[in-house]
């Protein structure tokens, strides 16, 4: 049947419909065949901006070569250019604060404002992947990764094996990856919970290992669901070297100094993700829910909903909404009281505090008659809410918004074509 459907070069709606039906009968991934492109290029460009904070531009290009047996090899290059400022972790004091950054710059923060540190960096990342189906029901994937930025390097490999069972109603996937990262902070690595005394200027290692077990099932002619469980084991230098924690006067709450951030040297992360894809008459509803927990006592819930509406055969609109909520890490604190015994670990990084993120956005996809390929435009607005009045805020700290909302806009432009 495949030969009959593919022998001609002309394309017609009936032919495409029959081809789709044939793929449905076999339910195997589409593979390159005579006349089909065997090479594909995907390009995306991210424009990311936080109000008054970080700005990022990230172009990504990916080349994929596809063989007739379903085998494929891809290579990807990404470049991040990051500028702007991020919160240091210090508390507002009600008066103008100044501090000296690791690179020697003097930083001034307005009275009552969360102190920020300006920074700029760029990151270059290479990714490669080889996918090969075999024995009709197995697909293996092997990948590698290398990235480098001013103070961080990551080198990793990963592998995955999927198998189809029960007449391809069920797919089971098992995978894993290992990353060996190095952290080499600008200005040296400070002792945790110190006033910034530099220990050494070399690099600190960080190991990340993860395993994934997943299963998906076709439930009805229109509906399929999947469940993924993942475990990640991190060890080594997990501290954020540029973050600080304010020392507060135990009565007035006024900042009288600051200590460096210190986090545990191990972190085990677990998550379970439940996903559903449902085909309505023409539209498709994507939903997912993830529960996450780790050994730093962070627990989170994530709900993600997308609704794809086909406007015509070449154009679609896909609104999306996402809600995320996390608890604080056990060692998160807005500040430490002067004179009190120091804890083993402490951070004031708002990303490890209580946090909610709401995302609203939409993706628009289209094709142009005179230009080959698929165009995609995604725009998202995100708003993060922290704990503005945490219970251990004392004195003047109760007068300040200690976690002002963060407004973020992210736009992604994508273009894909085969040749």
């Amino acid at each position: 049947m495949r030969v009959q459907l593919e022998s001609g070069k002309r394309s017609s709606p009936l032919r495409e419909m029959l081809h789709t039906a044939a793929l449905g009968l076999l339910l195997v991934p589409a593979t390159a065949k005579a006349g089909d492109p065997t090479d594909r290029v995907d390009v995306t460009s991210l424009l990311y901006g936080e109000q008054g904070r970080t700005q990022v531009i990230e172009p990504v290009v990916r080349f994929t070569h596809l063989w007739a047996d379903g085998q494929s090899v891809s290579a990807q290059l990404a470049v991040d250019v990051i500028t702007g400022a991020s919160p240091t972790g210090a508390l507002p004091s009600g008066v103008v604060q100044t501090r000296t950054s690791a690179s020697g710059r003097v930083i001034t923060s307005a009275a009552g404002a969360i102190p920020m540190a300006p920074f700029q960096d760029h990151r270059v990342a290479f990714d490669g992947e080889w996918q090969k189906p075999f024995s009709r029901i197995f697909t293996s994937t092997v990948g590698g990764h290398f990235s480098r930025e001013k103070d961080y390097q990551s080198l990793g490999v990963n592998a995955k094996l999927s198998t189809d069972l029960m007449n391809r109603l069920v797919t089971i996937t098992i995978g894993g990856g290992i990353n060996h990262d190095s952290v080499f902070p600008v200005g040296g690595t400070p002792i945790g919970l110190s006033d910034g005394i530099v220990v050494h200027s070399g690099s600190n290692s960080k190991e990340v290992k993860n395993v994934l077990l997943g299963g998906s099932r076709i439930l009805t002619r229109r509906w399929m669901m999947s469940v993924n469980g993942s475990q990640t084991f991190e060890s080594g230098y997990l501290t954020e070297p540029y973050k600080v924690i304010s020392l507060m006067n135990p009565v007035t709450g006024a900042p009288v100094g600051q200590l460096t951030d210190k986090r545990p040297s191990t972190r085990n992360r677990s998550s379970v993700l439940l996903s559903s894809v449902y085909h309505l008459n023409d539209d498709v509803l994507y939903t997912s829910y993830r529960y996450y927990w780790d050994t730093w006592s962070v627990r989170s819930h994530t709900i993600d909903i997308k609704y794809r509406r086909d406007l015509d055969t070449d154009t679609y609109l896909e609104p999306l909404v996402r809600y995320y909520r996390q608890t604080a890490a056990s060692f998160f604190t807005v500040g430490l009281e002067q004179g009190a015994p120091l804890p083993d670990f402490a951070t004031s990084d708002y990303r490890l505090g209580r946090l909610q993120t709401i995302t609203l956005g939409a993706t628009y996809g289209t094709r142009f008659e005179d230009i080959q390929g698929d165009w995609t435009l995604r725009a998202q607005y995100m708003r993060q809410f922290g704990d503005s009045s945490p219970p251990n805020a004392i004195g003047i700290q109760r007068n300040f918004d200690l976690a002002p909302p963060v407004n973020i806009v992210a736009v992604v432009i994508g273009y894909s074509f085969g040749y």
């Binding site: 789709t20 793929l23 449905g24 009968l25 076999l26 339910l27 995306t44 990230e58 990504v60 990948g143 990235s147 930025e149 961080y152 990551s154 990793g156 592998a159 391809r168 995978g175 894993g176 990856g177 990353n179 952290v183 993860n210 395993v211 994934l212 077990l213 299963g215 439930l219 009805t220 002619r221 229109r222 399929m224 669901m225 999947s226 469940v227 993924n228 469980g229 993942s230 475990q231 677990s270 998550s271 379970v272 993700l273 996903s275 085909h279 993830r290 996450y292 730093w296 995320y324 996390q326 890490a329 990303r351 490890l352 993120t357 993706t363 995609t376 973020i408 992210a410 992604v412 894909s416």
Partner: protein, 75 residues
């Protein structure tokens, strides 16, 4: 470590049993809609990668979607 993996596996098995319970067989000739490109858990891997990178740098949670992935000093 082993105890946590067993915990995740137990939860997954429970969910998998829920998924498979009482589901009718969908014959191959009834899978025309499922064969459409948009009927995928990850219809746009490149967009997903961008989103995962953003959320990884702004939130304390990560994982669940895929094995591997590149490291980053952004969190």
């Amino acid at each position: 470590m082993i105890r946590r993996m067993v915990q995740v596996c137990r939860l997954m098995i429970a969910l998998a049993l829920l998924l498979s319970a009482g589901c009718a067989t969908v014959h191959p000739w009834d899978r025309d809609l499922l064969a459409e490109k948009k009927m995928s858990f990850i219809p746009s891997p490149m967009l997903l990668a961008v989103d995962e990178h953003i959320y990884f740098s702004k939130e304390a949670s990560t994982g669940g979607m895929d094995a591997g992935g590149g490291g980053c000093g952004c969190n």
